[in-house]
């Protein structure tokens, strides 16, 4: 085979490669004239060879693309391969997206022409665009739903979270993406959320539950769906709902208690009165029995009235709960005033009272309620003092923060068995001492008053040692 033959074969091979290339290929000179083009190109622009060759490419380009192609051609004539993406609408054909490569043909160190390859990437571009749009749409949906939403992979790493999740959990997307859920919230790594998620992944079944999120002291309603990628979790803050439910439950419970107690305590003196009246009929008007019966009758009629008055007091506090405007009450002042009222009985039993309350301390509440609280506590201390030692009462108050004032009221009285009394200590008409007269109203009032001012009260007591009340006020 001589050189010519081999050269001819090479030429044929390249010709075939050129002509049969599925991409549009053409060859331009530095004027932009098309010197050669392949079948794909003729087919694409739907023109015979004769109408294309020796005409400038710009004849076939839409006017708005001519400058671009001219510039790119000039760049290629500098001797470098140029590559760019653009959409081109040849004549009246639908526009297509092309990935265009311009390769300079070097002859003796000079650029003698440019091979231009148009690769049609319309379909790929459309597909990419579609994916992008879908992702955008999905993102918009995730952002638009009011639920917080996040995704984790099988290694618990965050792969997505919406802005509601950022807001509710108080985290930054950038800081937690790719991090394990349990590294971000290590305190939950064996908690209620973890257990439900594991169950969902294990059973491949969606889970729906309510859980308490310790870190933020919030209740969440959570739905978690297992998928191939891991777990999708939707959750909403239901703290208000749970709290409202608890409050409703508590109030309902209180109301039941109240009804039971009141009916019982109304009926006790009433039943006595009924019995006494019946008895009276069979007694001699001047007998001792008659006199005694009459006295009991009087006593029980008064008791009946007292119960009704107590009810009135309690209902008034409840009604005023949202009506009486709270004020800034100087605490020391009101304590001293309440204690002065009990000066005589305190002196009588040789009791001593120590008050350590800063005179600048003011509490957010109601003066009458505060008066009632300290009056009732002190009168209980006097009533239930220990016989073996003289009574000592200490009242202290500290302001631990602007919103939290802690008052402790401690005595060295007879105390009571807290284990036994337990939850009943503050209940209406519950009594813990049989040797003293009391109707079980004092501590109930104290608690009601404290709570009406948005505070809470707790108690610790030891029989024979004393009792200590801790009151949190605002």
């Amino acid at each position: 085979m001589d050189t010519n033959t081999s050269f001819l074969l090479d030429e044929q091979r390249f010709r075939s490669l050129f002509d049969n290339n599925p991409d549009l290929v053409l060859f331009q000179n530095n004027a932009g004239t098309i010197l050669d083009a392949n079948r794909a190109f003729f087919a694409h622009i739907d023109k015979p060879k004769g109408h294309v060759l020796n005409r400038p490419l710009s004849d076939f380009l839409p006017p708005n693309k001519r400058a671009l192609f001219q510039q790119k051609l000039a760049e290629a004539f500098q001797g470098q391969t140029v590559r760019f993406d653009t959409d081109v609408q040849f004549d009246s054909l639908p526009p297509r997206q092309f990935d265009i490569t311009q390769v300079p043909l070097m002859t003796d160190g000079e650029v003698t022409g440019i091979h231009v390859v148009f690769r049609d990437i319309t379909d790929v571009t459309v597909a990419q665009l579609l994916i992008q749009q879908q992702a955008q749409k999905l993102n918009t949906v995730f952002e638009a739903i009011t639920d917080a939403f996040f995704l984790v992979d099988h290694s618990w790493r965050f792969t997505y979270l919406n802005s509601e999740t950022e807001r509710v959990l108080n985290v930054q997307r950038a800081a937690v993406m790719g991090q394990s859920l349990w590294d971000v919230f290590p305190e939950e790594s064996n908690g209620v959320f973890y257990q439900h998620y594991v169950q969902a992944l294990h059973t491949q079944q969606a889970v729906h539950f309510e859980g308490f999120f310790e870190r933020l002291q919030m209740w969440f309603d959570v739905k978690a769906f297992p998928s191939e990628e891991g777990l999708s979790v939707y959750f909403a803050d239901i703290t208000d709902r749970v709290k409202a439910h608890e409050e409703l439950y508590r109030q309902n419970n209180d109301l039941q208690q109240f009804t039971y107690i009141v009916s019982h305590n109304l009926r006790a003196p009433l039943a006595n009165i009924m019995g006494l009246v019946d008895l009276l009929a069979s007694l001699e008007p001047n007998s001792t029995d008659f006199q005694q019966t009459r006295q009991h009758l009087q006593l029980n009629a008064h008791q009946l009235d007292t119960v009704l008055q107590d009810m009135n007091t309690i209902l008034t506090i409840r009604d005023n709960h949202n009506v009486v405007a709270p004020e800034q009450v100087p605490l020391l002042d009101v304590i001293e005033q309440a204690c002065r009222t009990l000066d005589a009985p305190l002196k009588q039993c040789r009791g001593t009272l120590q008050i350590a309350v800063p005179d600048t301390l003011r509490v957010h509440g109601n003066r009458a309620y505060l008066h009632s609280i300290f009056f009732n506590l002190l009168s209980n201390s006097i009533k239930y003092r220990a016989d073996s030692r003289s009574l000592q009462v200490q009242i202290e108050a500290v302001s631990s923060s602007e919103q939290n004032i802690v008052v402790t009221f401690a005595d060295n009285g007879s105390g009571f068995d807290l284990q036994k009394a337990g939850a009943d200590v503050f209940k209406l008409y519950k009594r813990f001492h049989s040797q003293h007269v009391g109707r079980g109203m004092g501590l109930y009032l104290v608690k009601t008053h404290v709570e009406a001012m948005g505070g809470h009260i707790s108690v610790s007591s030891h029989e024979g040692v004393g009792t200590r009340f801790t009151i949190h006020l605002r």
């Binding site: 009916s263 019982h264 009926r267 009433l270 039943a271 006595n272 019995g275 019966t293 049989s434």
Partner: protein
């Protein structure tokens, strides 16, 4: 025959005492204002001098009627058929009547005030069960 009254309400005790007196009950009547004292009395009365009838109030401080009944459980065998407990309460709660069924020593629940008719019924019941 001994009768025990356990009630922290003095009027209630007075009423029952007067009623027993009016009905001519000549038994020894012992009244206790606390369940603890009554419990001690019953423990000391074992085994021979147990009271035949106990009128028990429910709502009392320190030890209430239910706690008293619990405290008597260890002595149930010794007291059965000899000591008849009648719960005497001003409460109308039906739950109380149901709860008395848990205590075999309780023969009945009476809503205050007790009257002569009720007392005669109790008398007949006790006489029947004792004989």
């Amino acid at each position: 025959m001994d009768i025990l009254l356990i009630d922290d309400n003095s009027t209630s005790v007075f009423l029952t005492e007067m009623l027993l007196k009016r009905e001519g009950v000549s038994s020894n009547i012992h009244s206790f204002f606390t369940a603890k004292e009554a419990l001690r009395y019953i423990q000391q009365s074992l085994p021979d001098r147990v009271p035949a009838i106990v009128f028990l109030d429910l709502n009392m401080p320190v030890m209430d009627g239910w706690e008293f009944l619990e405290a008597l459980k260890p002595y149930e065998q010794q007291l059965a058929h000899r000591c008849h407990i009648y719960v005497l309460t001003s409460s109308l709660a039906t739950a109380d009547a149901t709860k008395t069924k848990d205590y075999s020593l309780v023969s009945g629940l009476i809503h205050k005030p007790m009257d002569s008719q009720m007392l005669r019924v109790i008398w007949a019941e006790v006489a029947e069960q004792t004989s």
